[in-house]
């Protein structure tokens, strides 16, 4: 890859015309939030560097992952690579797991060390992400913790993204949802009434943020996967306390510990389904050490009504594990698009082995670890339909679905509480739509698909070249 960390990736984006610098001084509210909302709505969704925020010392990076162009550049692909091609490239790189990290001395993230008079506001240009959030949030962190029962096990160490609310100069709240890995670590620490050391790593190699929001298995290392995606090892170093492995080239590390058996009010916070999630009692973290690079960049993200940066970040990293789990039992599956609202909506492309096969594939999806609670609407299309192309999917719905036999409801099934339609929260009815062409012993009216005319490849090239020549004049 042509970058080693956030700074070098920002240079790549700038070279590719995927980065905007705001040189005018802006207010923390409402400007940073408005910029984070606007950038992904633009054509090509550029990243934005805000150089001067009123009252603060350091700059802010927003929307680093917030477009398919940036996503392609993260994977080392040309920026106009179609989504389906990015999916297959990711699938290929995935097979290189694990590529083990290397540990380095003199890590850039240790250039500056703060252990007394800690004030997060001195280092981070903190701001309110959405208007009725309970406070200033760190929405794009990679958080490292270890299994207290097996602290030397590198694979059981977790690097995950969890929302962080700033509640004091050296105090933050964290949201460890029970089905995420950090909650396993915390439970074991709290059973012993011990603090859980964590490191909140900000401003990372984009591949690290990609992996920290990917639902991999408990005994798998995000760092080993990040190495596989890059084709080269990630550089790590040791935290000042707690013996954690942290990225050596992050912009800022906040080291601290979750205080055991305590909960205080956190939230509300605007979340990815486009609505606020309510206030709850959640754990708090005492920060005892900050290390950072000279002139650190604060990378954060806006999230809200889809699509925003987080939807690009969680798109293919949700789709790929589901694809791999389906493919194991159903080799006819071609691709899985689980990028709508974090997999609440899923489109599967598959060849049908025999009549009713599409429904079976959908039912398998609904029994995978992520699909069981999250996925509510499952659409299955033929192998020649691109599930990432909604125009083609709409074609399949309009020409391949007979509602009396192809639409199935499964009431009272596991759901996802952040889905505001789930009632009671965490329960919903599943909807399966089989939009595949019937195969024997299923029956349908005889239809013949239209072929493309002969010489289409020739004329496509001809027309493209002609257009290019016109553009050069």
């Amino acid at each position: 890859m042509s970058y080693r960390d956030l700074r070098e990736f920002l240079e790549v984006l700038e070279k590719e015309n995927q980065l905007i610098r705001v040189k005018d001084e802006v207010m923390p509210e409402p400007d940073l939030s408005a910029i984070g909302r606007s950038a992904p709505d633009m054509e090509n969704g550029p990243a934005v560097i805000v150089e001067k925020v009123k009252g603060y010392k350091n700059s802010v990076a927003l929307n680093v992952h917030g477009s398919w162009q940036n996503h392609a550049l993260m994977l080392g692909l040309p920026k106009d690579t179609p989504v389906k091609d990015q999916f297959f490239e990711l699938d290929k790189k995935w097979s290189d797991y694990p590529i083990k990290p290397v540990w380095v001395e003199n890590a850039p993230v240790k250039e500056v060390k703060i252990t007394t008079d800690i004030n997060l506001f001195d280092v981070l240009p903190l701001f309110r992400v959405n208007k009725y959030d309970g406070g200033f949030y760190i929405s794009k962190a990679l958080i490292v913790s270890k299994d207290p029962e097996d602290p030397d096990n590198f694979e059981k160490q977790n690097a995950g993204t969890y929302r962080i609310q700033v509640k004091g100069k050296d105090l933050v709240g964290i949201q460890p949802l029970p089905f995420h890995d950090i909650a396993v670590h915390l439970r074991k620490a709290e059973e012993r009434n011990e603090p859980l050391p964590i490191a909140i790593c900000l401003g990372n190699d984009p591949v690290l943020n990609f992996m920290s929001s990917t639902p991999i298995e408990y005994v798998q290392s995000e760092y080993d996967f990040a190495g596989a995606l890059k084709g080269e090892p990630i550089e790590l170093t040791k935290s000042e306390q707690g013996n954690l492995d942290i990225p050596a080239r992050s912009e800022v590390i906040l080291e601290g510990y979750i205080m055991p058996r305590e909960r205080r009010i956190e939230g509300p916070f605007g979340e990815f389904p486009g609505s606020y999630s309510g206030a709850r009692l959640q754990p708090e973290v005492k920060i005892h050490t900050i290390t950072h690079r000279i002139n650190p960049i604060f990378e954060n993200l806006y999230l809200g009504m889809p699509w925003t940066e987080i939807d690009y970040l969680m798109a293919l990293n949700t789709s790929l594990p589901l694809f791999r789990q389906l493919k194991r039992d159903f080799p006819e599956v071609v691709a899985v698009n689980a990028m709508y609202t974090h997999g609440i909506g899923v489109i599967i492309s598959t060849k049908s082995r025999f009549g009713g096969y599409g429904k079976s594939v959908a039912m398998r999806l609904l029994s995978t670890p992520h699909g069981m609670p999250y996925s509510k609407i499952v659409i299955v299309v033929d192998e020649f339909v691109d599930p990432f192309n909604l125009e083609q999917v709409m074609w399949a719905l309009t020409t391949r679905v007979r509602p009396d036999k192809d639409v199935v409801l499964i009431p009272n099934a596991p759901g996802m509480p952040l889905d505001p339609s789930s009632e009671p929260a965490g329960m919903h009815t599943k909807l399966i739509i089989d939009a595949t062409t019937p195969v024997a012993p299923d029956k349908a009216r005889d239809t013949e698909l239209l072929d493309v005319p002969d010489k289409v490849d020739y004329w496509m090239n001809y027309l493209r070249n002609t257009m290019r020549k016109e553009g050069d004049k």
Binding site: M27, P28, E29, P30, K54, G55, Y56, K57, N119, F121, D122, R128, K131, Y132, G134, G135, F136, Q165, V166, K167, G168, K169, G173, Q175, P176, L177, P178, A183, L186, R187, E190, E191, R192, N193, R261, R263, R264, I265, E266, P268, Y276, A279, R280, L281, Q282
Partner: protein
């Protein structure tokens, strides 16, 4: 000063701007709400704060705990 969200008087100065005395940030020790002195009135003013997001401080202790606190493991002798 009163918390705009839960009307508590238990409000502290959290920090001042690191540069230029540009603003201050306040925090409510009752409901953990924080706000900046330069934000709009419908964030800072208890009368104007949106009623849908107001918090009744007497109900905070009964909110859901995420994640639940587990039982302590008894130490073996």
């Amino acid at each position: 000063m009163i918390c705009p969200r839960c009307d508590s008087k238990n409000v502290d100065l959290l920090t001042k701007a690191p540069v230029d005395d540009a603003w201050e940030v306040y925090i409510c020790e009752t409901c953990c709400f924080s706000w900046r002195s330069t934000e709009s009135d419908d964030i800072k003013d208890p009368e104007k704060y949106d009623k849908r997001f107001k918090i009744d401080s007497s109900k905070i202790s009964s909110l859901d705990k995420i994640p639940p606190i587990p039982e302590l493991i008894k130490k073996k002798d």
